[in-house]
Symmetry: C2
Subunit: 424 residues, 2 copies
Amino acid sequence: MTATDVTSAVHDIARQAKVAARVLATATRGTKDAALKALATALEVATDPIVAANVVDLDRERAAGMSESTLDRLALTPQRIVAIADALREVAALPDPVGEVLRGSTLPNGLRLQQVRVPMGVVGMIYEARPNVTVDAAALGLKSGNAVILRGGSAAAETNRVIVAVLREALAEQGLPADAVQSIDDYGREGAVALMGARGLVDLLIPRGGAGLIQTVVREAKVPVIETGVGNCHVYVDAAANLDWAERIVLNAKVQRPSVCNAAETLLVHEAVAAEFLPRVLNALNAEHVTIHGDATVAAGRPAGTAFEAAVDDDWAKEYHGLELAVKVVSSLDEAINHIRTWTSGHTEAIVTDNLQASERFVAELDSACVMVNASTRFTDGGEFGLGAEIGISTQKLHARGPMGLAELTTSKWIVHGKGQIRG
Amino acid sequence: MTATDVTSAVHDIARQAKVAARVLATATRGTKDAALKALATALEVATDPIVAANVVDLDRERAAGMSESTLDRLALTPQRIVAIADALREVAALPDPVGEVLRGSTLPNGLRLQQVRVPMGVVGMIYEARPNVTVDAAALGLKSGNAVILRGGSAAAETNRVIVAVLREALAEQGLPADAVQSIDDYGREGAVALMGARGLVDLLIPRGGAGLIQTVVREAKVPVIETGVGNCHVYVDAAANLDWAERIVLNAKVQRPSVCNAAETLLVHEAVAAEFLPRVLNALNAEHVTIHGDATVAAGRPAGTAFEAAVDDDWAKEYHGLELAVKVVSSLDEAINHIRTWTSGHTEAIVTDNLQASERFVAELDSACVMVNASTRFTDGGEFGLGAEIGISTQKLHARGPMGLAELTTSKWIVHGKGQIRG
C-alpha cells in the first residue's frame, strides 16, 4: 500500500467511527452498561484464542530480545483476562458522565441556558505493548459515548487482533455499531501518521507509553492531543519533616512499583535534617537495591556500601523507570521549589513536613498536576482518586490535568431554550 | 534579524512571561482587581496619545485601501476608550476563578483530595485589527492569573504599541510585573511562528480573527491551541414552527450584525411551511438588502425582485460575513440535521419549532458548541451567557467549547493532604 492508500484507508476508518459515534452519543446508560457486561463475558469466553494469540506475540518478542519486564506487561493469562473482564464490569458500575448538567441558569431575557456534558466523538489511542489498554480504551470510550480508533504496539499485534474482533462481535450482538471499536494496527507506522493527521475526523488523540512515543505524537499530530504520563516526580523532605513518614514515603514512592510514571525519581533533602535522614534513607534504599545518583553532600554523607554515582544534570531530568534515584541536599524550601520548577515534567511532587507554611508554599508555588503533602507520589492514579478507571495521566494543562477518567473523555454543549427571543 | 534571532528573542519574552506568571499565580483577587481599575484609569488618562497613534494606523490603512468596515473596527475614539476602560472595571467586578474548588473528597485511606482551579500560566494571543482585543486579553489574563503575550495585526501596530506601554507602566506602578503583558509585534510574521513553536514556554495559544488566520495557527502551532470563532451557523424552520418567531429569529440572526461569527449563514425551511414562510421571509430579507443563495425550490418560490443566485455547494460551507444567506428547502427534520452535520463549523445552530420531539432530536443529534431552540443564533456570546467578558468562542471540543470566559483561561491542580500514607 502506498502512503496515500494508507491515509485514505485510515480516514475511511475515522469516518466509520464518526458514524458509530453518532449512535453512541444518544445511547442510554442502560444500553451502554449492558454492552460493557456483554463485552466482559465475551472476553472470558474467548480466553483460549486470546491466550493462544498472546503466546504468538510473546514467542516472537522473546526471540527478538524483549526484556522480561516488558514481556510481563505483554503477557495475558486466563487470570489476567478475568481481571480485565472484571474491570469492564466496574466501568459499567460507574456513573454515566454524558448528560451531566455542568452549569445552568435563566438569563434576564428569559432564555434558559444549560451546559451539558456530551461525548467527544471519535477518540484515537496510540499505545505500546500492553493489551489491557485495548480493552480499557474500548470500555471507557463506550461508557463515555465515544467511538475509539486503536493503534497498539506491533509487539501485541496478534493479541490485539483477537481482542478487537471479540469486542466488535459482542458490540454488534448488543445492537451497537461494531465500528465503535476499530484498530488500525494493519497500517503500521504510516497508519499512525494518518491518524495523527485526521483533522476534523478525530476529536481527541491520546498517546500512552514511553516518552519517545508521547513526544512524537505531540510533535506530529494535527488533531487535538492530550500529553500523558511522563513523570519526573519529586519528594522533598523539609527541615520540619516527620522523618518516619519521610522514610516510608520515599521508599514507597521509589520502590513499590518503580516502572510507573508516579514513582519518585528525585529526592530533595533539607540540609537541616540531612545528617540524620540521609544515612537512614540511603540504608533503607540500599536494602531495596536502589542505586543513588547524588550530589557532593550526598556523596560525603552516604553510608559505606551504598550503590552510588555522582549526579550530573541529566539525572535531575531523568525518568529512571527503575531502581535508581537522584538525591540532592538543598539549603531551603526556596531551593527545593526552584529545583523542582526547573526539572519537573509537571506530574506529581510531594513534600514531607509538619510546617504548615512550608506545605502551603509548596502547594501554591509548584506548577504540577498533583501536589502531595505527607503522602506518597504513588497515589496519583484515577482508581486511587476515586475517578474509577483511568485512560491515562495528563501532564498538560489544556482540558485535563492529572488522572483522566470518564469525565475527561467528554466535552460540553450549550443548550438554549427560548420563546422567540432575538438580540437587541 | 535572522529567523534564529527572532526565535530566540520571542522565547526570551516567553521566559519573562513565565517568571511574571509565577507572581500572578499567587496574587490575591484584591491585588488583581486594584490593578485592573488602575489599568482602566491609565488608559483614560492616555486617551490623547492612544488616539494619536490610532490616527497614524488609520491613515496608513485607509491609504492602503482597507475597507470602511475594517477601518471602523480599528478606530479608537475617546468614547471607545471610555468603553474599553469600563470593560476593565467590569472584569474587576467578576469573581476570581483562581482557587475555586472543583471537586473534593476524603478517600477511604484518609487522604484529603481537592481539585482546585489554577491559572494556565502563559497565554499567547494572535489576532487581527481590533485594538480592543489587546486590552481584553490583558484584562482577562490578569484576572485569571495568567501572563499574556500579544501578537496584534500590523494594521493596529502603532495603537497597540501605545496601549501595551500604558498597560505595562500601570502594572509596574501597582507592584505587579510589567511582563504580565508583552507584545511581539516588533518581530513580524516570524515572531508569530516562534510563538507558535514555543513548546514548554506557552501554555495556551488563542488565535482570534478570520478563518485564514485561525487555520494557519491551528496547522502550524506546536503549543496547545484553542480554535475559535469560525461560525457557519444555521437556522432551521421546522414544519411545526411559529412562523412569527421564525421570521423574527431569521432576520435577527442574519441582519443585526452580519459580520460576526454568531450570525446565521444558512436558512433551512421544512417543505411543509415553505410555501407560506419563504415569500414572507424572503421579502423581509430583501427589504434588508440580503442576497439569497437558494436551491431550485427557493428559486421557484421566491417573490419577484429578490436578489437571488443559485446556490452551489460552496454556499453551504461559506461564512458570508455580510448580507448574504444560503437558503434550502428540506423534506424532513432528518434532512435538516444531516445537512447541518455535513456543512457546519460546529458553532451555533437554531431550530424554530413548537414540536417537543423535533426540538429534542435537534438538540441531541447536532454536534455543535451551542444549540438554540426558538432563539436567535446571535445569543452565543460570553456576555449574553452571563460569563462576563469573553476571550473568544471555541469551536473545538478540547478544554473549552462555546463562549470562553475567565474559567476557560484556567486549568486545575490536584492537592492531596495526608499523614504519611503510602500505597499498598
